[in-house]
């Protein structure tokens, strides 16, 4: 029997498999027992209500998905009043994804979210930073660190920084977030993409460009995890195109301590269970007693501390 538990900063997760923000909700409990997951990750919550982007909000592109949902939501106050209670029926740790327009707003929101029932805050710093006229916090080390430092100062909860592929040097952003006090990194959010509808001869998404996810994004996300895990000592949670247990094993061998599964759930609603079984089968077949032993195995040098 393989030990699937992993440590992510202060948290011990019963499984390395968790959902990716924005692709998950309590509705999935109609498909399987959500307490089989290592953690539950919410859609990004925003300080104020947001309507989101015009439709179509998703488009298919080969072996992948383009989305421009626009983080619609009722805002933190309503989320605390209505959504948080709905999550309490699950035993798995609840990770709240947080998105905000400024470092100060991130701090205030993190403070508001520091309530019983919330196990960690995942800072979605891929969203636009109004103080840098709309460039994402995660595009540069400076703004990324400012946001994480502000959150760190505002809460005692573990803080996960979710990085963006849309940057010139993700290792630098990763180090900046570690130095600013992040307990873990989630790598990565979607990469900016585009599809043109040949019937309308216009972008397939109502918003124009969108985030690319799914299998076609996997080789890039795997590279980002490799770069970040080499750059920091905090755990890296791999995310991007994971569909099978073998995909997840690749991420862990590249340096990830855990994984998130997003778009795959749209294709197979029980994908996260299949991924969990696949990881366990790989470990059993290759003689690993603990899934944590996989982390960083593909490195030429020593294994990263993230695995310990």
């Amino acid at each position: 029997m393989v030990d699937l538990s992993v440590r992510i900063g202060g948290l011990r997760l019963a499984s390395p498999v968790m959902p990716a923000s924005g692709t998950f909700g309590p509705e999935l409990a109609e498909v399987f027992d959500l307490d089989l997951l290592g953690a539950l990750v919410t859609k990004s919550v925003t300080p104020d209500p947001r309507r989101g982007n015009p439709t179509p909000r998703v488009a298919e592109t080969g072996q992948g998905l383009l989305n421009s949902i626009g983080i619609p939501g009722k805002g933190i106050a309503a989320w605390l009043a209505h959504d948080l209670p709905a999550w309490q029926r699950f035993a798995a740790p609840l990770v709240v994804s947080l998105s905000a327009p400024s470092a100060a707003a991130f701090a205030a929101a993190a403070r508001a979210l520091s309530v019983p029932g919330v196990a960690a805050i995942e800072a979605n710093i891929s969203c636009p930073n109004l103080e840098e006229d709309g460039r994402a916090f995660a595009a540069e080390p400076g703004p990324a660190a400012a946001a994480i430092a502000a959150i760190r100062a505002a809460t005692a909860l573990p803080v996960w920084a979710k990085l963006s592929p849309n940057t010139g040097d993700i290792a630098a952003v990763a180090r900046a977030c570690e130095d600013a006090g992040a307990d873990a990194l989630v790598v990565a959010n979607t990469i900016l993409g585009l599809a043109i509808d040949l019937d309308t001869m216009a972008p397939a998404l109502g918003a124009g460009m969108g985030g690319y996810s799914g299998p076609g994004f996997k080789p890039i996300a795997l590279r980002l995890v490799w770069q970040c895990a080499h750059a920091v000592r905090i755990p890296v949670i791999g995310c991007g195109g994971i569909t099978t247990g073998n995909d997840a094993v690749e991420f862990m061998l590249a340096g990830a301590a855990a994984v998130q599964v997003g778009t795959a759930t749209f294709i197979q609603p029980a994908a996260m269970l299949r991924v969990t079984e696949g990881i366990a089968a790989f470990c059993a077949g290759r003689g690993f007693a603990r899934v944590a032993e996989l982390t960083g195995r593909a490195w030429s040098g020593a294994r990263p501390l993230a695995a310990e």
Binding site: T23, E30, K43, T265, F266, I267, P269
Partner: protein, 263 residues
């Protein structure tokens, strides 16, 4: 169907896969648990060979002991792949999902207004109503007689069907409006239902409001998960707290007739 986990991906053997008329296709699969669980207006999210995303498809035929059916227009790669399935192939259908139509056993008559492939969405409602002895008046609109899928809609259930066509002008709003008014005067329905045309939706909203008859409409939107997770399928819907972007896959695809804002 496990009560605790009502939604699942079901792999069913294809029993029938054949064209219907010039532009449509029907598929029947063997998926007993799913077929028994589905209610009229609900849909399944279908894995189409060779394309990445699933495609949402209303359930056209279902019931305990009956095979599960879909009736669709070949619109692009996904539906083309579905139409390419052959008896013996398997189809992965995820469901049942979505809010079904209301069907009150106390009703005496319902009126259905469907356009094009919208009748696929309303057919099961008509059959279930007829089976319960509820009278069904159906006004079916199509481009031309060749496109009308009368048998596909009514099967051999007893109902009052009126066909209108673009080809002879009988589908023009004014003409359809007059027809509906006459039908309602002749045999007043307890509820009205529509799917498939925004123009007809607005027409029916007006008449039902005047006549003060309750109703429901089934609508479509581009989908990702069909599980209520991604919020890609929202449509503007009037609610008690004002207009809201609701999920067609979750709060819909069936909404109160008057709550659907025409786009």
């Amino acid at each position: 169907m496990d009560g605790a986990y009502p939604v699942a991906s079901h792999i069913g053997a294809v029993l029938v896969s054949e064209p219907v008329g010039a532009r449509y296709h029907r598929i029947l699969i063997d998926a007993p648990a799913l077929s028994a669980a589905v209610r009229p207006g609900q849909f399944c999210h279908l894995l189409c060979p060779g394309v990445y995303l699933r495609r949402p498809m209303s359930v056209w035929r279902a019931g305990p002991g009956e095979s599960l059916g879909f009736l669709f227009r070949v619109a692009g790669p996904g539906t083309a792949a579905l139409a390419g399935l052959r008896a013996g192939d398997t189809l992965d259908a995820m469901g049942p999902v979505g809010r079904p139509f209301s069907l009150d056993p106390g009703w005496r008559r319902i009126l259905i207004l469907a356009r094009g492939v919208g009748l696929a969405t309303l057919s099961l409602l008509a059959l279930r109503a007829a089976a319960r002895g509820i009278g069904v008046t159906a006004v079916l609109s199509a481009r031309e007689p060749a496109d009308l899928m009368l048998a596909a809609f009514a099967s051999d259930a007893p109902m009052q069907v009126h066909a209108v066509f673009d080809s002879d002008g009988s589908s023009a709003p004014a003409a359809v409006g007059a027809l509906l008014a006459a039908e309602i005067a002749r045999a007043r329905p307890d509820a009205v239902f529509t799917c498939g045309s925004d123009r007809l939706l607005r027409l029916l909203q007006g008449i039902a409001a005047r006549e003060n008859i309750p109703g429901e409409a089934a609508i479509e939107q581009r989908m990702g998960c069909a599980l209520g997770l991604c919020f890609s399928c929202v449509r503007r819907i009037a609610t008690a707290d004002g207009p809201r972007d609701l999920r067609v896959c979750r709060e819909g695809p069936v909404f109160d007739l008057h709550s659907v804002e025409a786009w």
